[in-house]
């Protein structure tokens, strides 16, 4: 990743000579930065995708309440379900409701139990009647209590659950993974800063004579720091671009694989355009972080020299 000779330039604009040869400063640094940026972008993409999945799922089920009529006698179950539907309709804050048809319920258990159970055994499996209720807002404990107060007298076999309760452990796990992804991003940023710090110190040591001469000729710390900062900035920009390209390949490949699963929760985790924009900013931030680290490291080291 050797660049043109305009890198590591002099202090004045327009000069095309190198105070410190770029080759002596960069070494493996662009590749280290490329790997760091790739890992950061992948971790960040995972975090964003998980965030999207959680948000989409929450938006879908936050206001959802399921009323089950758990009654083995089919006629009693149907009667209670019908009364429950009528009772729920009168509750304020209900945006809509739907009694799940028996055919849909049979389809739900068909993969495990097969078809024609009633014909084979003489009686159908007593699957609970399901009523899917949509509230205007999230299903709070007070609203669940209000629904129970209206439904229970007319349908004693009813069991009322907020849909979000079922998936809470899944959401919690996904949020934990999201936090983990962000922690990894922060750790990688720290590792990048540490790598740049070591590279800057090494470059300072290797170029100590030149720096001392520049100092004795009246060069300022800021001038010397600028040379290192610019050089590492070029390294970081080049490495960052390569790293981002690598990350894109990985993210797109994984995205295709997950699309193939066809699972609703995974599908809803697809990255949107603003996520891609955030990923594109990663190498820019990495470059700024590397330049800032290089500048502070060099200035700190120079302060120990007269």
């Amino acid at each position: 990743m050797r660049r043109s000779s305009v890198l590591g330039r002099w202090f004045t604009a327009g000069s095309r000579v190198e105070l410190i040869p770029q080759g002596r400063m960069s070494g493996p640094m662009p590749w280290v930065i490329a790997i760091m940026v790739a890992m950061t972008a992948i971790a960040l993409a995972a975090g964003l995708a998980l965030g999207n999945a959680v948000s989409a799922a929450k938006a879908e089920i936050d206001g959802g309440v399921t009323v089950q009529i758990i009654e083995p006698r089919a006629d009693v179950r149907e009667a209670q379900a019908a009364r429950a539907v009528e009772a729920i309709k009168t509750i304020p804050g209900v945006a809509g409701l739907r009694q799940v048809p028996q055919a849909e319920l049979d389809a739900l258990i068909e993969p495990w139990l097969g078809t024609g159970i009633a014909a084979a055994t003489g009686s159908a499996i007593p699957v609970p009647a399901l009523i899917d209720v949509r509230l205007n807002g999230p299903a709070s404990a007070a609203q669940l209590a209000a629904i129970a107060k209206r439904v229970t007298p007319v349908a004693p076999s009813a069991r009322i659950d907020a849909q979000s309760n079922w998936l809470r452990p899944v959401f919690d796990a996904m949020v934990s993974l999201q936090v983990l992804a962000m922690v990894i991003v922060a750790l990688l940023a720290g590792a990048l800063a540490a790598a740049v710090l070591l590279a800057a110190r090494s470059a300072l040591g290797a170029n100590r004579d030149t720096i001392e001469i520049v100092h004795l000729l009246g060069g300022t710390d800021a001038q010397v720091a600028r040379v290192f900062q610019r050089s590492i900035g070029y390294d970081a920009a080049g490495g960052g671009a390569v790293g981002l390209a690598l990350a894109m390949v990985v993210i797109l490949t994984l995205g295709r694989r997950f699309e193939g699963l066809g699972a609703g929760l995974v599908d809803s985790g697809a990255l949107v355009w603003s996520d891609w924009l955030i990923l594109a900013v990663v190498p820019v931030l990495a470059t700024l972080l590397a330049m800032l680290t290089a500048r502070l490291t060099v200035l700190h080291a120079l302060r120990k020299m007269l």
Binding site: T12, H215, L217, G218
Partner: protein, 237 residues
């Protein structure tokens, strides 16, 4: 520079490295603008250490130093570069930057001082012509002879027209003819008003600059064989 022409004043200055004994002790002297000084003494007498104090590469362990009317001891670190730009230095080992051409080495002080590129080429070519290196302008230090490297180092030291030029054994690595030429360069510079301090243990050189003043170091202490330090010359006009 003060009104009486004083540019450097050392008052009871001592220097030690770490916890070793003092390499310079009780130095009290004044340097005046436009004068030519030779600093002599045996090897190990402390010449290089004294020069390092003069070109602000080192702070003393004790005493007071005033440079160009400013207290150099309490001078904030951020203001050192401005002070250093008034001092040209010729190092004993030249200390040219190996990967830069003669032109770029000489241009270094101007670039450090923030001169625009368009204002650099002319003066650098002129000064390289002055030291007789016009045909070696693009040569790297590794391809230059010792004398040529020394002249590049001198050109670099004077390109920014410093108020004082400090040279550490500038003739130590060149033949007698080249040494005489280099001293003539210093004299020419001195005639243009630059104070020159040349450290040397070559006593023949002293005779080549008749108006020079001699500072002699002996085991870190200064003696004053010409009396010029105890009885400073009158203000120059």
């Amino acid at each position: 520079m003060t009104s009486d022409g004083e540019i450097i004043h050392f008052d009871n200055v001592g220097l030690r490295y770490g916890t070793d004994r003092e390499v310079l002790s009780d130095l009290t002297f004044t340097l005046y603008a436009g004068r030519f000084y030779f600093l002599t003494g045996a090897s190990g007498a402390g010449k290089t250490s004294l020069l390092r104090l003069l070109y602000l590469a080192q702070r003393p362990s004790r005493g007071a130093i005033r440079m160009f009317g400013t207290d150099a001891i309490t001078l904030p670190r951020a203001q050192l570069p401005v002070m250093r730009r008034r001092i040209g230095v010729v190092f004993q080992d030249f200390r040219l930057i190996e990967h830069l051409s003669a032109f770029d080495n000489v241009a270094l002080p101007l670039r450090v001082a923030g001169h625009a590129e368009k204002d650099i080429a002319g003066p650098v070519r002129d000064i390289l012509e002055w030291v007789g290196l016009t045909d070696r302008i693009d040569a790297s230090p590794a391809t230059l002879s010792g004398g040529e490297q020394q002249r590049v180092a001198i050109a670099r030291a004077v390109i920014a027209r410093p108020a004082m030029l400090v040279a550490d054994e500038p003739t130590g690595n060149v033949d007698p003819d080249m040494a005489a030429k280099l001293i003539r360069l210093f004299e020419m510079l001195n005639r243009q008003g630059t104070t020159v301090v040349v450290a040397t243990h070559d006593l023949d050189l002293l005779r080549k600059v008749p108006d020079s003043l001699i500072m002699r170091l002996d085991k870190g202490r200064l003696s004053d064989p010409t009396g010029a330090l105890r009885y400073p010359p009158r203000k120059l006009t």
